[in-house]
């Protein structure tokens, strides 16, 4: 019994396609057809997901060099670097690939990675010391543009992180994170020096 069977691969890719189509329906609300489904497979945000699933499938079947090759093709073709060892549940949605998205860790279902979001290991006490502790992310998490999740932290379910949040501590369930640089209009503007 292999840890990641080919039916699971198929289900995950179908979930990714469904997540993509649910978002694309907001922008082009025309009738769903087989031609539209087939052409959405050419979108880079889906190509990135499919290449990651393939590389993870190869990694679980002890074909490490081929898995690394698939991840590198993904990186050079779409700009999304997801390590083959990382575990992501179905329904991954990457709206803007090509902006340096990095993923290394464990995540649940229906993860959303916006432009430049990064989940990676190391550099936890901000001293420059590299560690291999990777983050763990729950279900239905959305990481906004340039948001980073660094080091050995746990992010709960249903978390929405906005622009430029640097997460290096644990985050509870159902929380909404706002960057420190974003201020209300009523508050006095603090000069950033």
């Amino acid at each position: 019994m292999s840890p990641y069977s080919i039916t699971q691969l198929n289900d995950d890719i179908k979930a990714d396609l469904a997540a993509y189509q649910a978002f694309a329906a907001h922008y082009s609300p025309s009738r769903r057809s087989w031609l539209k489904t087939a052409s959405s497979l050419l979108m880079p945000s889906l190509i990135a997901c499919i290449f990651y699933r393939l590389s993870h499938f190869l990694y679980c079947h002890r074909l490490k060099p081929l898995a690394v090759l698939a991840a590198r093709i993904n990186q050079s073709f779409t700009g999304v670097s997801i390590t083959p060892a990382s575990l992501i549940g179905g329904g991954l949605y990457i709206p803007h690939p090509g902006t340096g998205i990095v993923f290394q860790g464990i995540a649940g279902e229906s993860l959303r990675l916006y432009a430049g979001a990064a989940v990676y290991a190391g550099l936890t006490p901000l001293t420059g010391a590299d560690t291999a502790n990777t983050p763990t992310i729950g279900h239905r998490v959305s990481l906004g543009a340039k948001t980073q999740v660094i080091g050995n932290v746990t992010v709960g379910n249903d978390v929405t992180a906005g622009f430029n949040c640097i997460i290096s501590t644990d985050v509870p369930n159902n929380s909404k994170l706002i960057s420190a640089h974003v201020r209300n209009q009523k508050e006095p503007i603090v000069s950033v020096d």
Binding site: S175, K176, I178
Partner: protein
């Protein structure tokens, strides 16, 4: 601007030190690199060393072509006017901009880098470009802008933008995000303040 002529052997010696340092960092972070796999952060550094060699020989067109090829292939914009010592490491090369001078063991994580500000004051690295010391780490999203000097062993934290001179052995850290718990009953009815 005076040109210190570096021969081809010297630039390749610097590149071998870069390569060794990058492989150590990738092994510490458990990023997969096989013997046949060229790590993704190595291509921009190699092409930068070539274009810098051409620039110092005053082969301007060749330097410019290699620089543009580097930008096209890897997404890292490393200008040949920047003078960087041995041990230069880029981990995730997408949208890295380096224009300025740095000493030995300069690390760029990704999504940021050095660049020019508004003024055109020249402090030794070119008009309006920053001048860095040895052992400097720029985390992901960190930028150093304008004609500023950074001392040795400076760590610029993730998402920070530096527009002032920093003394040696200092760290900058990002501000912590603000967090709000979304309750199920009030999540849709009341707007987030």
């Amino acid at each position: 601007m005076k040109h210190q002529s570096i021969n081809f052997k010297e630039s390749m010696r610097r590149f071998s030190i870069d390569r060794r340092r990058l492989l150590v960092i990738m092994r510490n972070r458990q990023l997969l690199t096989g013997p046949l796999i060229w790590p993704p952060g190595l291509t921009p550094v190699f092409l930068y060393r070539l274009s810098r060699f051409c620039y110092e020989r005053q082969w301007g067109i060749a330097a410019r072509l290699i620089w543009q090829f580097n930008l096209f292939v890897t997404g890292a914009d490393i200008s040949p006017i920047s003078d960087i010592g041995e041990g230069f490491v880029i981990i995730h090369p997408v949208s890295v901009t380096v224009a300025g001078s740095a000493g030995q063991n300069f690390t760029v994580e990704g999504l940021g880098g050095l660049g020019g500000g508004i003024s055109l004051e020249d402090i030794g690295a070119g008009p309006g470009l920053p001048l860095l010391g040895d052992n400097i780490t720029l985390h992901r999203g960190a930028m150093v802008l304008g004609a500023v000097t950074l001392g040795d062993n400076v760590v610029v934290g993730p998402g920070c933008t530096v527009t002032q001179c920093l003394p040696a052995n200092t760290q900058t850290r990002p501000q912590k995000f603000r967090s709000r718990l979304l309750q199920e009953t009030t999540a849709t009815s009341t707007p987030v303040k």
